[in-house]
């Protein structure tokens, strides 16, 4: 038993890397669902952004252009979801599923037509990918870091060596909180998710609020997808989101649709994923060998526990999932 092993720096570093795409996708879902639009299309939007970000980065040689392209693609899918579920009052779940299927297929077909490498983009290098930012004096190679002392490990591994998106992400959570709870826009956004009728009576366009929410959702999903293919990886591979959009949704429920809790939930899920790839550390920490599958399943198990009402109550936005029909 060595409980301190749970705080292994390498695992915490992995938590940050794996948690950031979950956090971005979770906040994306937060905006959309707080405005009353359920969005299970997070996965598809991340995927299409991951693809276009990598494709455009490779073609233009600029990762920033790639990022913009990825975000645009994700916003387009968001607007499609908005069109189907806000304007045409379609079923939000079906529209979300359609987006996931569409993204899963189109990315492979387009990548094959564009690069002919089997639904994959070529490997990115140099300015076509987000290089990790190294703090002055920090060690860059994992092998050197593993031999360093603790403060150096924290500095080199945990603090230094991430891409710019990760550092931006630190600012995003307080910003989202401030937007939702301290601005007029945030108040109205939350209101359309609870009682769109009241918002409409106050003379505010429910449609416009909901469209704004899905666009913000698209931007954040785009950021998450681009981070996967150009920050964490150097290229797109088919289905590379590997269910992260769904884990983000689980995290959103776990966080009960609140921004700071979303940070906690996504980092917890990221931590579980990071721990799952280090069975040796887990064994050192608790003294027995645990199957890694248990850790892989934990995010879902925790979400079910929260949904079942064991840890407080997870109450979704009241008007969530319902199209708003203006009275005539």
């Amino acid at each position: 038993m060595d409980l301190l092993a749970f705080f292994d720096i390498a695992v915490l570093d992995g938590t940050v890397r794996l948690g950031v795409p979950l956090l971005l996708a979770c906040l994306a879902g937060l905006f959309s669902e707080r405005a009353g639009i359920f969005d299970i299309g997070l996965e598809g939007k991340m995927l299409i952004s991951a693809f276009l970000a990598a494709g455009v980065s490779f073609t233009t040689g600029s990762v920033w252009l790639g990022l913009i392209a990825g975000i645009m693609a994700s916003v387009v899918l968001s607007l499609l979801h908005g069109l189907a579920s806000i304007t045409f009052r379609g079923n939000q779940l079906i529209s979300g599923v359609a987006i996931n299927f569409f993204a899963s297929g189109i990315t492979v077909v387009a990548a094959q037509a564009w690069f002919g490498e089997g639904g994959r983009t070529p490997s990115l290098s140099g300015a076509a990918r987000f290089e990790s930012i190294q703090f002055p004096g920090a060690l860059t190679r994992i092998r050197d870091i593993a031999k360093a002392d603790l403060p150096m490990k924290v500095y080199s591994e945990l603090l230094s060596g991430h891409t710019i998106i990760v550092y931006l992400c630190i600012l995003i959570v307080p910003f989202v909180w401030w937007t939702l709870y301290r601005t007029r826009f945030g108040l109205r956004l939350r209101a359309v998710g609870e009682n769109p009728g009241a918002v409409d009576t106050a003379g505010i366009s429910v449609y416009r609020m909901r469209y704004s929410a899905v666009i913000i959702c698209g931007v954040l999903c785009g950021l998450a997808g681009a981070y996967l293919s150009t920050g964490l990886q150097a290229g797109f591979v088919r289905e590379m989101t590997a269910g992260r959009g769904y884990i983000a949704l689980a995290a959103l429920i776990f966080a009960k649709w609140r921004p700071w809790q979303a940070l906690g939930a996504t980092m917890l899920f990221g931590y579980l994923q990071a721990l799952a790839i280090r069975p040796d550390i887990l064994e050192r920490a608790i003294g027995i060998r645990v199957q890694t599958q248990v850790l892989d399943a934990l995010p879902y198990v925790l979400t079910v526990i929260v949904l079942a009402g064991f840890v407080g109550k997870a109450i979704p936005p009241r008007a969530g999932g319902e199209a708003y029909v203006k009275e005539r």
């Binding site: 992995g14 490997s123 593993a146 591979v237 590379m240 590997a242 790839i277």
Partner: protein
């Protein structure tokens, strides 16, 4: 009269073209798609080589979901394609159902065994090829720790891991072999992000050569190994070119040869077992201009010697799938 002759001629031409289609072999790819730079692409390469050399043509199909399997085999069988080759272990169940219905046709399945009088089951001795790259890994490693990253946790992938560990320990009995699997669902074949994380985790545990047998996930492994300045080992196809100087070698599984041989045999395809190992060029390690500087003559000599011993039966590499245990590695 002329009209009748025309009709007769037309139907004769139709019959001829039908006859031509009858002889065409067919290949069905697995979910990875035929351009996966790995397993399926190797199968496609074998089929293309056959077509180029013989001037023949073949039918092909890429499935996009598991539900299409039985339908795909049946369609080619109805068209009279012979033989019908399918790449991938997941074809076993649908093939076992369909094969008895078409006793006149020959089927060939790669990577799995289907017991039927008209089915050829091609299996590879991946443990032998993995043994060789395990030896190379242990010889290239500075610290004596080598890593293995598998895709989906299935017996076939454990077979790779077990052979690899045996090879590494044969060279350096004190070597540490770290083995991780990416997941337990098919998503594990396409999760390069997790592949990267596993690579970083293994490097921080001291591994400096990492063997990826993980499909698309391997792209992340090879990339991270290159970024971190350690060696990696590719799988199935020759992946040395992906990161020259960082990919130590690739464990080659000659799926292309299996498909080529099946197509060449045509309707005379011999049913039963076809084991492709070191002795008949079914597996091996890749040596080309991209890794020529990484493999010293000494390493090459040691591996060639072991290869000859395995081919002659003097050295037996334990096959995980024979008894579902591995003497040197704990999963």
């Amino acid at each position: 009269m002329t009209l009748v002759t025309k009709f007769l001629g037309a139907s004769a031409a139709l019959a001829l073209s039908a006859g031509a289609a009858l002889a065409d072999p067919a290949i069905i790819f697995d979910l990875g798609g035929k351009f996966d730079k790995s397993f399926n692409e190797a199968a496609f390469g074998g089929a293309t080589r056959w077509a180029e050399e013989t001037g023949g043509s073949f039918a092909e199909f890429e499935i996009t979901s598991d539900a299409q399997r039985e339908q795909a085999i049946r369609r080619f069988a109805e068209d009279g394609n012979n033989p019908i080759v399918m790449a991938g272990f997941s074809w076993a169940t649908p093939l076992a159902a369909v094969a008895p219905e078409y006793p006149d046709l020959k089927f060939s399945i790669i990577d799995m065994v289907v017991d039927a009088p008209n089915v050829q089951s091609v299996v590879f001795n991946e443990h032998e090829g993995s043994y060789l790259v395990g030896m190379l890994a242990a010889m290239a490693s500075e610290d004596g720790t080598v890593g293995f990253i598998g895709g989906m946790d299935i017996p076939l992938i454990r077979k790779f891991a077990c052979g690899y560990a045996q090879g590494a320990l044969a060279v350096n009995p004190d070597a540490t072999v770290i083995a991780n699997m990416t997941g337990t669902t098919p998503a594990a074949w396409n999760d390069p992000v997790k592949g990267s994380e596993l690579t970083l985790a293994q490097i921080s545990q001291g591994a400096d050569v990492i063997y990826a047998a993980a499909g698309g996930t391997g792209v992340g492994v090879l990339q991270t190994a290159a970024d971190q300045g350690v060696y990696s080992i590719g799988v199935d196809s020759n992946q040395n070119y992906m990161h020259p100087g960082s990919v130590l070698t690739s464990m080659m599984k000659r799926v292309d040869n299996a498909v080529y041989d099946a197509f060449t045999a045509g309707a005379d395809l011999e049913a039963g077992f076809n084991v492709m190992g070191l002795s008949n060029g079914g597996v091996g390690y890749a040596l080309d201009e991209y890794n020529a500087e990484l493999i010293t003559d000494e390493m090459k000599a040691a591996v060639e010697a072991a290869s000859a011993q395995i081919a002659s039966g003097e050295l037996v590499v334990h096959d995980y799938m024979s008894d579902e245990t591995c003497p040197v590695l704990d999963f």
